[in-house]
């Protein structure tokens, strides 16, 4: 049974997610435009690349936050899912598919909000028109990235639910977000080699978003070629998304009913 409309409705009505995944992320766009740009002389291509870097990293943070929030819901619904797979028409594939679709839809809207925010805020700061080069490409990347993050967060949470115990959920839940900060900011400030940028799904996402926004291939400041090839980035991101979704389905079939109170620390 397809629960995608119901999950999409629940997500799109979630004001907390809109605030933390959308409005709060616009705060970082403002920081990028008005604080971090102090002393920089930005115009033309340099400005587009600078804005694209901020846009890519902030979308990464927003989607990882969305994934963490949704995956946390698994801890509240472990008994419901264990029951539903046994005694209703809901299947693990049906459930995961519904949640992935819903998170992709929410990711699309959040990505669009941040895109609008980036164009508006950077445009106002630098008195420039910053129309993204490839809006369709940005939408596509946001959708696949939504699937990737949801599958990653689901795997981490399901490992905790099935094998570790709910006390670890509040800590493990932050892993996707912490990795987003590490890889997202790492690409901006550290000379990461090309193999890592291709192999890391986080950097696949930021590199594709960067290219979709400013029109130029993402640069490599570490070892390897000077820029990243988008077909390889797309292939790597799709491979990660498919592999993680398969892993999440495997774990979901074995979901163990837990009492939410188990997650209390004190």
């Amino acid at each position: 049974m397809n629960l995608a409309p119901a999950y999409s409705k629940a997500l799109l009505r979630n004001e907390t997610l809109w605030f933390w995944g959308g409005v709060f992320m616009l705060f970082w766009i403002v920081i990028g435009a008005f604080v971090e740009s102090q002393g920089l002389s930005l115009a033309g291509t340099a400005l587009r690349q600078y804005a694209a870097s901020w846009y890519a990293v902030v979308v990464l943070l927003s989607l990882s936050m969305l994934a963490v929030a949704i995956a946390n819901s698994l801890t509240y619904g472990s008994a419901a899912l264990a029951y539903a797979f046994r005694y209703t028409r809901l299947t693990p594939n049906g459930y995961l598919g519904s949640v992935l679709v819903a998170s992709a839809i929410m990711g699309f809207f959040l990505g669009f909000l941040i895109l609008g925010g980036t164009v508006a805020v950077f445009g106002a700061r630098f008195h420039a028109s910053l129309v993204p080069s490839n809006i369709a490409g940005l939408v596509g990347v946001a959708l696949v990235a939504g699937v990737f993050f949801m599958a990653l967060a689901a795997i981490l949470m399901l490992v905790v639910i099935n094998y570790v115990g709910l006390r670890s959920t509040s800590l493990v839940g932050f892993v996707p977000l912490m990795l987003a900060y590490a890889f997202g900011l790492g690409q901006v400030f550290l000379p990461l080699p090309a193999w890592l940028l291709y192999g890391s799904p986080y950097n696949d996402i930021t590199s594709l978003l960067y290219q979709g926004f400013c029109g130029a291939a993402a640069p490599v400041s570490g070892a390897g070629p000077a820029t990243l090839a988008w077909p390889i980035l797309v292939a790597a991101l799709l491979a990660w998304s498919v592999a993680l979704s398969a892993g999440a389905t495997f774990l979901l079939r074995r979901i163990r009913a837990r009492q939410v109170e188990e997650g209390r620390q004190v």
Binding site: M1, L3, A6, A80, Y83, F85, R86, Y87, T88, T91
Partner: protein, 261 residues
């Protein structure tokens, strides 16, 4: 429909089993399990549903082991935790669960109206009172006309008039049922049902609810006992028509055992 063999449940970190060597077989019978709070009734229901860690023994529903059963629509429960699938108001949840169970959303909506629960529709399940949650849980469990109904304390915090209507509704249902309660006086609402007692994780029975006025509890092992109840306070016998204390006068099973011990 239900076959439970030597079922035990011990929670991680606990030395005392919550459920001990329970054996139970239901075809189309309906059973009320009476026991005090903490006696293991809810854990037994969860284990039968595959939602509690079974330490030893087996539980099978319609021939399938509960750890591997999939898509068996004939089994239903009112446990509130199984309805926390998605964070939406009751109005949205009702048709979702009705369809998931292969039931009729319109029929479920009518039952909600009959039990005067329209006030719950715009709220989420966790915002409802315990009684409202219990009532909705039962109505959701009944939405598919189940073959095996597992009901945990369905009358808890439910007002008197709706208790009667709920009991009448349960009486109308066909198929097997296992209903737990800690209230002995409720047994009179379930004429024709079997009866079992649960105490410190052990299930003893079956008896008949129609005979509840004739059941006695006696200290020790008594010849011709219907069943033996082994507890940490000693061994007791359940007997018919004679014994130390009549079950019908007890406010609870615990009070009865404490009086005898």
């Amino acid at each position: 429909m239900l076959d439970v063999r030597d079922l035990s449940v011990t929670f991680p970190g606990s030395r005392t089993p919550a459920v001990r060597n329970v054996n139970l077989s239901l075809g189309t019978e309906r059973v009320v399990v009476v026991g005090p709070n903490g006696s293991g009734k809810t854990t037994l229901l969860r284990a039968i549903l595959g939602l509690a860690p079974i330490t030893s023994g087996t539980a099978r529903v319609f021939g399938q082991d509960v750890s591997t059963v999939r898509g068996e629509l004939r089994v239903s429960t009112n446990l509130a935790e199984v309805y926390r699938l998605i964070s939406l108001p009751v109005r949205d949840l009702l048709p979702i669960f009705a369809r998931l169970k292969g039931g009729d959303p319109a029929a479920l909506a009518r039952r909600v109206h009959e039990f005067e629960l329209e006030g719950t529709l715009d709220r989420k399940i966790y915002e409802l009172s315990t009684g409202q949650q219990k009532l909705l849980g039962v109505l959701l469990a009944l939405s598919a006309g189940p073959g095996l109904l597992l009901l945990d304390e369905p009358f808890d915090n439910v007002d008197f008039s709706r208790r009667r209507r709920l009991a009448a509704l349960l009486q109308e249902q066909s198929g097997a049922a296992l209903l737990s309660t800690h209230e002995l006086e409720l047994l009179r609402l379930f004429d024709g049902w079997h009866l079992a007692f649960m105490f410190e994780g052990r299930l003893v029975g079956p008896f008949e609810t129609a005979n509840v006025d004739r059941l006695f509890l006696s200290r020790g092992r008594v010849p011709d006992a219907l069943a033996i109840l082994e507890t940490s306070a000693g061994v007791f016998s359940v007997t018919l028509d004679r014994g130390d204390l009549p079950v019908k006068n007890a406010t609870s099973l615990t009070a009865l055992v404490e009086q005898l011990a």
